[in-house]
């Protein structure tokens, strides 16, 4: 598919998902009403206006930002580790964030503390892996991967411990956080700029990423300074992930699968792939979150369940119909 067509479709999908999210919920809002509220010409129902502007709009934007951050971080992590199985969480950033978040919940602290503590945990984990993987020897990809996976396993054990010792009434909130949940997500005032800057940085190094998939030595021979580039990708991907998990907990699946969906559609140039992944990841999470809060309303589901429930069949259909992974381009 030509990039221009694919981008147009992705933009349409993004707009459609935003409309779907803003108009669905306990109060149904028609497209006309929504338009009137957005443009400020509505003189009528104050309640509807409040629901849209103060509840749905921040949550929708938070969902979009989270999904975009995760898809972008996933795409970067896959190139960094040159491993199609890599996702934003593989090197332990989400484990650190989860430990921070659960500790805050266990101590009964408020949501500001929760977010701060989650972000702190993510940064701690990121620096821990970065520092330890340098070690005595050189900073190789396999050393980074092993260090990250072991640290992630360590966080896993601590998370298990915290769940085991926490009182019954707190467990539900903790499980929701671990599966990814946007019901407490604030307006993403800090995260949106992080996403935009991260996206610009990713596009700027896009051509180097295209070469890095052919191997580090190859990239070196083509004039890329490998060590600074690798460090930069690691820090960028980790920071994006930390921002995402701070917003919504560890929402799974988006970061792993969205970049692959686009590769299956024939998009391989990272200067296009990464912005496209952000659009698709954002749209997917907005749709998933809308379903999470409406399917069993008034009960809310963790959004992480819905991302997988939507993503798995879509991905399998694409994989089944695609030849571009191991065959000729269509």
């Amino acid at each position: 598919m030509r990039p221009a067509i694919l981008f147009s479709l992705l933009l349409l999908l993004a707009i459609a998902s935003l409309l779907f999210s803003l108009t669905s919920g306990s109060i149904d809002v028609s497209g006309q009403e929504l338009l009137a509220i957005i443009t400020g010409t509505d003189s009528g129902n104050e309640l509807v206006r409040q629901v849209i502007m103060e509840l749905r709009w921040p949550r929708t934007l938070a969902a979009f930002t989270t999904g975009a951050l995760l898809a972008l971080a996933g795409g970067l992590m896959q190139v960094l580790l040159r491993n199609p199985l890599a996702d934003p969480y593989v090197l332990g950033v989400s484990g650190g964030a989860a430990t921070g978040a659960l500790l805050a919940m266990l101590s009964g602290l408020g949501s500001v503390w929760l977010h701060g503590s989650a972000f702190g945990g993510a940064l701690l984990s990121m620096l821990l892996v970065f520092g330890l993987s340098r070690g005595a020897g050189s900073w190789t990809t396999s050393r980074l991967l092993l260090t990250g996976i072991v640290i992630a396993a360590g966080w896993g054990a601590i998370i298990g411990l915290l769940l085991a010792i926490s009182p019954e009434q707190g467990l539900r909130g903790m499980l929701f956080w671990l599966m990814g949940d946007l019901s407490n997500a604030p307006m993403p005032l800090g995260s949106l700029p992080v996403l935009l800057l991260g996206l610009l940085a990713a596009i700027a190094i896009g051509r180097s990423l295209n070469i890095l998939v052919h191997g580090e030595q190859m990239a070196g021979a083509l004039g890329i300074s490998i060590k600074p580039l690798r460090g930069f990708i690691y820090l960028l991907a980790s920071l994006l992930t930390a921002t995402a998990v701070t917003l919504a907990g560890s929402v799974g699946f988006v970061g792993l699968v969205v970049p692959h969906m686009l590769r299956l559609l024939g998009m391989r140039d990272h200067r296009l792939l990464l912005p496209a992944a952000s659009l698709l990841g954002g749209s997917l999470l907005v749709c998933a979150d809308t379903l999470a809060r409406t399917l069993l309303a008034p009960r809310q589901l963790p959004v992480g369940i819905l991302t997988a429930l939507i993503g798995v069949p879509v991905f399998l259909v694409l994989l089944h119909h695609s030849r571009s992974l191991h065959g000729e381009e269509r």
Binding site: Q78, V79, R82, N83, P84, A204, R207, S208, N210, I211, V213, H214, G215, Q217, M218, G220, A221, L222, G223, I224, S225, R263, R268, D269, R271, S324, L325, H326, G327, E328, E329
Partner: protein
Amino acid sequence: MSLLSTQALHITIGTTSVCCNLELKINSGDRWCVLGRNGTGKTTLLYTLAGLRPPDSGTIAVHSRALHTLPRKSVAQHIGLLFQDHTDAFPASVLETVLTGRHPWLGALQWESNQDLTLARDALQAVGLGDMETRMVNTLSGGERRRVGIACLLTQQPQLLLLDEPTNHLDIHHQIRMLDLMKEQVTNSRKALFMVMHDINLAIRYCNRFLLLFGEGETLQGTTETVLTRDNLERLYQHPLQAIPGPQGTCWLPQ
């Protein structure tokens, strides 16, 4: 002035020495061949000359400027390296792969121009893959993938071509075609070739300078006549050889 020269170059891998006090001068028009047994460090020598790993001591100069002081990008404008093997972790088309060769010539945010595309397509034509540009590289045969690598190197347009076993995976026809192409590059555009080979007879046909790596730091260099004697070759490979006079010089066969 030499394209690339080394002074008192010392390289070791672990505890084994690849070369000791190596003084090398690669001039334009030179076609070098590196011969040596497995594990004597031929690839390591290529990587060092390309600046991908630092030497243990000694200096490498590109146009009389120290290699380690040059920005990576300008090194890549002068020196190109064909690797022994190619890794493709994610799908990429043949044309996209060949276009990566333009990287050293493009600004950070610059996209490949039509001129770059033309260069890449010409290179694909030259290696006989002109009709395969939309194929995915991971669906190619070993020999076709090898030729994509060579096309990438042509697109990079370096003055010094470092080739690690360029005839790997190639059939007899393509071995000759690719080596003809490389020789043509050297004679027509004042470039230089420095390649690792295991086929002594092909090397004699295409190269005019030889560097023998005996292991433990001992090296020998010179022209075909001075270096490629039976004594030297038998000592190099530690295997008895038979010389058979052929139409293009002596042919060496293992006994």
